[in-house]
């Protein structure tokens, strides 16, 4: 049942997940004029005062820090909407309501650099954390329902949530799979291949197989 990875090493570090989330697009409102940027990761701009434009999160934060733009929080990032989502998550057992691919990480970025752009930042943040807790709990406690199929759908889970549940869920599912499918365990194959060896009955030390 032991997985091949050591339990303490996450597949992705939190910093790596963060790195990936930094490419998510967000709307900014520049307060300066700047020619389009032709990056390896894509073309952005042109930047004109008061004209909203979409840029990756890392660029938004870089510009915000230099006082060159305001960040526009996405529509879903309001207290009303998040409260609704949280209620939905609590009520429905199976389905996950809200596409939070970038919610949490976005929230932290914005919290660090653009607090003034978002009303009720504190509430928004704690709502997103509550949503996350409800979801992680739902996925992890519902594992055995899926053990027969050896697969689980996890709609709309964010990359960070995936990373949190992965070490546990992966190992647990592996255990379910193994106990549900004893005939698929390699030990049986090995036992039968040994039988053929026994047939020629060579004297040998009991080696570790």
């Amino acid at each position: 049942m032991a997985g091949q990875s050591e339990p303490h090493i996450s597949l992705f570090s939190a910093e790596e997940v963060e790195f990936m989330a930094e490419d998510e697009l967000i709307e900014i409102v520049p307060n300066m004029r700047m020619a389009p940027l032709n990056f390896i990761c894509g073309d952005f701009g042109p930047f004109l005062p008061q004209i909203p434009t979409q840029v990756p999160l890392w660029l938004a934060v870089a510009l915000k820090k230099r006082g060159r733009c305001a960040i526009r929080p996405p529509q879903w990032m309001s207290v009303e909407n998040l409260t609704r989502v949280l209620e939905g998550e609590r009520e429905s057992q199976g389905s996950f309501q809200f596409n939070s691919m970038k919610a949490l990480i976005l929230c932290f970025f914005v919290d660090g650099s653009a607090r003034d752009d978002i009303p009720d930042m504190y509430m928004v943040r704690s709502l997103i954390e509550d949503i996350r807790d409800v979801r992680i709990h739902k996925v992890e406690t519902s594992l055995e329902k899926f053990s027969g199929t050896s697969a689980v759908k996890i709609p709309n889970l964010s990359a960070m949530e995936v990373n949190i549940i992965r070490p546990f869920v992966g190992r647990a599912l592996q255990a379910f799979y193994k106990h549900d499918n004893p005939e698929k365990i390699p030990d049986v194959d090995r036992a039968s291949s040994q039988q053929t060896r026994v047939a020629n009955n060579e004297p040998r030390r009991p080696l570790r197989r």
Binding site: L37, A151, V152, V169, G170, L173, Q174, R208
Partner: protein, 236 residues
Amino acid sequence: MGSSAGEWSAEQIDDYETLISTTDVELLKKAWRNEKVSPEILPFEEALVKRAKEQIQLMEETVDDFVESGHDPLIASLYQMDLDRAQFLLRSYLRVRLQKNRPRNPSGFAIEKFMFYIWKTDTYRNRLSMEEEKFTERCIRDIGKHLEETVLSNLPDNYQSVLNQSVISEEDDMVPEPLLDTFVVAKCERTTRPLYLDGSRQSTGDDHFLMVPGDLCILRYRPFQEELMSGNISLV
């Protein structure tokens, strides 16, 4: 992301492709994630790596020009950030493949874990780049030599192989193999035919197990090898 379920035409798939992977950075990120998550080595992304290297080199020259010509330092620094990110991705991709040849393993004994297996399995060996092949060959040579000098030459004649427990072993019974029955987190990118969560090709009549583009699932890796190679799913 993506549309609802059902049959996808070739054009739709192409559209979807251009929509989600417009840049080599996106492709590289996907390749890095796939490689990091999958329990086996995947085919080397030769063309992609070549393109990425060229773009990085070009961008380095651009940034140098900016700095020398006294261009707006803000713009130069933004281009530098973009460059740093692309380089980080490329390095991570190349590195994770080498670590796959030599996975970190705290029990020490298995540092050389999959090298021997990759070497004797043509499918896997063909997935290496030329540099990786050289690297693997040298590792095998060095580790083999080291084990021979320190341990194997002191054992009885029948027990001197790096790969076999003894001369009567019928197979390379000391070569660890990748465990393909591990569970991975996968995203359905597109469907050229119906994909079911358990890897089966026939409907069980329960659409709950049907995957549609955008779906995120935890599934057993083995039945989905082909789907990963053809880009129908990606790993996260």
